[in-house]
């Protein structure tokens, strides 16, 4: 028993000694715990500081998705205060478009299918704006695996997203551009190739990328590329450089190039971007524009030339009209001089008659050219005999030919040639050509008129040994107001409209008038070519142009406020035996109608009191008016003037000055 007690005491002593060690161990443990707690607190504080000062948003949310904690960065990102945010769930602030994917990821997380999820998703900030985030969420579990809360890391990637979107849009713009946009290395190797480039050059991206850009350059432009690359290496930009490039099919294309350096992130130039615009169409339209401008300039020049000719013509016209006045005035003085002999008086009358005839021809030509220009001249086409036309023309031109003693010959077919034409107009053409030949050939020259028929065409040529026409004037001689510049131009007189009139008349016949000349001093040859056409209507009996004395005496009324014109005409008619009454205004004319009851009345249109039209209308309205032949005599010779006269009741229309022969013929036949 004593030994048991001793054993127990020993056990107790030992145990109590152990207790001291246990106490020491506990104290050590307590110290370690304290140290660990302090370290933990420090760590916690560090973590709290890290949490609060992190450059990324951090949040803790419970399993109901409600925010429990958030750092300042997240509050800045979302625009909420911590108190406001902790009343919300992370679903509340998720953009509706990202609800579904977020919920699915949370479901997988809770089911333990994924350790965490990472989403690029949108949040709706307090102010309603959208913020893009890269959100990483982890489910924090307790030591026994129980889900406890979520911890999320939210990085604001709005800027990156916007930049990516911008890049995407830019890429779309580049890809959809009609311009060719390509990039290349500094060695000239193609690295990118858009659809515009594919359309422009015909190469697909996969077949051209990696190839040297020189495949697009025609060999004669090879020297451009090194120069372009050299400028790019210097950091220069090349704008609107117009050149030529080559398509896959070998065809060339006009392009405008803009080349810019491509820099790496550190600013080093690593390549070049090139925008090529197809300017083929622009080049084409430029050419058309230039042609249009040239045409306009030529047209303007032609107008100026025409204007110049017109001025010259007007000067010539004034000269030509003034020329006859001097001999007329002088002849008139001579004829009425007290000492004038009968021979001198006849000479004077011849001069006056010739000069007036010349002036009348000038004015006729003017009227004709005006009609042709306006398209109002009408041919009186009838079946015509060639020889008669030539005879008439020669008769007209003969004085001019003979005056310069030219050797004149005519060759025409032996057989009569009948064809449809206006014989007077055709004779006018030929006489014009013959007169010109006579005029522009030195005295004692030769003039040949030949006519021939071949293949349904009649050719009449007038060839002279005259001054000739320089080659550069062969076409312009037919222009209005044209005269070949020479020393003889003015000396020979004329308005310079003869050839224009002749060509116009020939063309009205469906023919051609042209000219050949070996140049100045080598003569000229004008040719008229006409189709040999026929008419079903019989040939009119040619009226004689000769002045014949009318056997019929007429009662004639002349009304003209130009007293000289009226009296001189009356004198001529009286010399032919007609009974003539002269008045000087419209009212007197009406009175005279009643008084003398004329068979023929020649009425000026522009008279005082009543004009000629009005007089004619009133005469026609009266009982006497039905029988009288009314002849309008006026300076207005246009067709419209003639039509107006006929409408007023006139039977005929004469343009001043009246040709006495024609008037006499008319008085004979009315």
């Amino acid at each position: 028993m004593a030994s048991e007690e001793a054993e127990e005491k020993k056990l107790r002593r030992t145990a109590l000694k152990n207790a001291e060690s246990i106490l020491a161990a506990r104290q050590r443990a307590d110290r370690e715990l304290t140290t660990a707690k302090e370290a933990l607190e420090r760590k916690t504080e560090e973590l709290r500081a890290t949490f609060n000062q992190a450059a990324i948003g951090i949040a803790i949310a419970d399993l109901n998705n409600q925010f429990l904690q958030a750092n300042q960065k997240l509050l800045d990102i979302l625009g909420y205060s911590l108190e406001e945010l902790c009343k919300l769930t992370f679903i509340d602030i998720t953009h509706p478009g990202d609800f579904e994917v977020t919920r699915e990821q949370v479901r997988l997380l809770l089911a333990g299918k994924i350790p965490h999820y990472v989403l690029e998703k949108r949040y709706v900030r307090k102010d309603g704006s959208i913020v893009w985030s890269r959100t990483t969420v982890t489910l924090v579990r307790t030591a026994n695996g129980q889900a406890e809360h979520y911890i999320g890391f939210i990085e604001d990637i709005t800027e990156r997203k916007v930049a990516a979107e911008l890049r995407s849009r830019l890429a779309a713009v580049v890809e959809s551009s009609n311009d060719s946009i390509i990039s290349k290395t500094l060695e000239g190797v193609i690295t990118t190739w858009n659809q515009g480039a594919e359309r422009m050059f015909g190469y697909a991206a996969e077949e051209i990328i990696g190839k040297p850009v020189t495949v697009l350059i025609p060999s004669n432009h090879f020297n451009e590329e090194p120069a372009i690359l050299e400028r790019i290496r210097r950091g220069e930009r090349i704008e609107h450089y117009e050149t030529v490039r080559k398509r896959k099919d070998g065809t060339l294309i006009d392009v405008s190039l803009t080349v810019s350096p491509i820099k790496s992130f550190d600013g080093t130039i690593v390549g070049a971007s090139k925008i090529a615009r197809d300017i083929t169409e622009r080049k084409r339209s430029d050419a058309a524009l230039y042609a249009e401008i040239a045409n306009r300039e030529r047209a303007e020049e032609a107008l100026r030339e025409t204007d110049r000719r017109k001025d010259e013509f007007l000067a010539t016209l004034a000269h030509e009209l003034r020329n006859p006045l001097a001999p007329i005035r002088q002849a008139a003085l001579i004829s009425k001089a007290p000492g004038a002999t009968e021979a001198q008086k006849r000479w004077s009358h011849d001069v006056i008659s010739r000069q007036v005839h010349h002036m009348a021809l000038l004015l006729d030509d003017l009227l004709d050219i005006s009609r042709i220009t306006r398209g109002t001249l009408e041919l009186r086409t009838e079946m015509t005999e060639l020889a008669e036309v030539i005879d008439a023309a020669v008769e007209t031109a003969r004085p001019a030919i003979d005056a310069k003693r030219h050797v004149f010959s005519v060759e025409i077919p032996q057989e009569p040639v009948h064809f449809a034409a206006d014989p007077l107009r055709l004779a006018q053409v030929l006489s014009n050509l013959l007169t010109n030949a006579a005029k522009y050939t030195d005295p004692e020259g030769t003039i040949q008129l030949r006519a021939s028929c071949l293949n349904g065409m009649l050719t009449i040529s007038v060839k002279d040994s005259g001054i000739g026409i320089p080659a550069d004037s062969l076409t312009s001689v037919f222009a209005m107001f044209s005269q070949v510049q020479s020393s003889q131009d003015r000396s020979e007189g004329g308005l310079g409209i003869g050839l224009a009139l002749a060509r116009g008349l020939v063309e009205l016949h469906g023919g051609i008038l042209d000219v050949k000349s070996a140049g100045i001093g080598h003569g000229s040859e004008f040719s008229v070519r006409l189709p040999l056409r026929t008419l079903n209507t019989p040939r009119k009996k040619e009226t004689s142009r000769a002045i014949t004395t009318s056997p019929t005496k007429r009662r004639v009324l002349i009304a003209d406020d130009n007293r000289d014109a009226a009296e001189s005409l009356a004198m001529l008619l009286r010399m032919d035996g007609h009974e003539v009454t002269v008045v000087h205004d419209g009212q007197e004319a009406l009175t005279a109608f009643h008084d003398v009851q004329p068979e023929v009345a020649l009425l000026d249109i522009g008279m005082p009191e009543l004009n000629g039209y009005e007089v004619a209308r009133r005469v026609r309205q009266g009982s006497l008016g039905r029988a009288v032949t009314l002849i309008a005599v006026t300076g207005w010779g246009q067709d419209s003037d003639k039509a107006r006269a006929l409408a007023a009741g006139f039977n005929h229309h004469f343009t001043k000055p009246v040709e006495p022969e024609r008037l006499s013929e008319l008085l004979r036949t009315v």
Binding site: K10, T14, L16, N18, I22, A24, A25, R26
Partner: protein, 354 residues
């Protein structure tokens, strides 16, 4: 409401095994392997046949007992350690540490390796407390191996053993703390008990909360050969300190207590909300087989004091903590266990019907 029920640990070894070990004089002769294997397999089979939802391997290979199995055969020990006197008059002697450093000779997880091959239900594993093994160090200090260092080594080895068992898949790891009452007995001042509680808490403090969820502490008067070493010590002197242990589960011998209600009152007063107490409803030292009804009544009695959510049932103690104890037969042990299982179910029904 389900009332969980678990055993404490040991089941009497088959006689053939006990006799073979005695004949050979040691427990590790290879010729014993088959007997051990048969004993383990049969124990688990019979254990599972009782319907117990949690079983043990009956500690068939623990040698020589629940207290010293981990240091048996250590070269730095001598057999002349402290004597533990039992009420029946016999004593058990502990080894004495003769030198450092201190290491376990074996860890209890090796028993799990075997048992898990045969078990179909959750297995729990009992280990000895650090406070029990602290008595290995003699009164006189060991040269070059101070007591403080021994305490550190002891804590490390204990934590290692528990963690290994948990890692092997033990349903629970139960720390046998039968020296609690003994500490009060040899030091009525309570200083020694407090020291034991401190030591054990130092160990428990090294576990994570999750690990502590699977750790329990068993206390009893120390049964051996149908007697105890400290039944004369009142629970009132132990339990307030016991529930200071930083652990969730307590396995407390109650069936053999003369005044169960008094103990239950103490438990009710000391039990903390996060703690569950498994009260003993069968007494291994009582040769009589409890009936299920008796067990039911004891469980219902306990339920009067302990919230059902914190109540469980267990055996008062292992049926054979010492390998050579033949005072209780295997059949009796399993019969008592079956009674515990059935009685607990009856209690559940009774509680449900009420």
């Amino acid at each position: 409401m389900k009332i969980p029920t678990e055993p404490i640990g040991s089941i009497p070894r088959p006689l053939a095994l006990i006799e073979a070990v005695e004949a050979l004089g040691n427990d590790s002769d290879p010729s014993l392997d088959r007997l051990y294997e048969d004993a383990i397999r049969d124990t688990i089979r019979q254990f599972e046949a009782t319907g117990s939802p949690v079983i043990t391997d009956g500690e068939q290979r623990k040698y020589h007992n629940f207290w010293t199995y981990s240091v048996e055969g250590l070269p730095n020990t001598a057999p002349d350690g402290f004597k533990i006197p039992f009420a029946a008059g016999h004593v058990r002697r502990m080894p004495r540490l003769t030198g450092g450093p201190f290491h376990y000779q074996r860890y209890a997880d090796q028993y799990l390796d075997r048992a898990l091959r045969y078990a179909h239900v959750p297995l729990k594993q009992a280990v000895i407390s650090p406070s029990a093994l602290s008595l290995l160090y003699p009164e006189e200090a060991i040269p070059d191996y101070p007591r403080d260092l021994f305490i550190e080594d002891l804590l490390r080895e204990h934590v290692t053993e528990v963690r290994r068992c948990l890692a092997k898949g033990a349903h629970k790891v139960q720390i046998d703390f039968t020296e609690g009452r003994l500490a009060v007995k040899i030091d009525p001042t309570g200083r020694l008990l407090a020291s034991f509680i401190d030591l054990n808490n130092l160990a428990l403090g090294r576990f994570t909360p999750a690990e502590r969820e699977r750790i329990g502490v068993h206390t009893c008067p120390g049964g051996d050969r149908d007697s105890t070493h400290s039944a004369d010590v009142q629970y009132a002197e132990l339990l307030p300190s016991l529930f200071e242990l930083n652990v969730h589960h307590f396995y407390i011998a109650l069936a053999g207590e003369p005044d169960r209600r008094a103990v239950l009152e103490i438990i009710r007063d000391c039990l903390k909300p996060h703690q569950r107490v498994f009260v003993g409803v069968v007494a291994p030292i009582d040769p009589r087989i409890e009936t299920p009804e008796e067990v039911r009544d004891r469980a219902l009695e306990a339920a009067e004091y302990i919230p059902l959510g914190q109540l469980g049932t267990t055996d008062d103690c292992g049926f054979s903590p010492f390998c050579d104890d033949t005072s209780t037969s295997r059949e009796s042990a399993f019969a008592k266990i079956r009674a515990r299982v059935l009685g607990t179910s009856l209690a559940e029904r009774a509680l449900e019907s009420s």
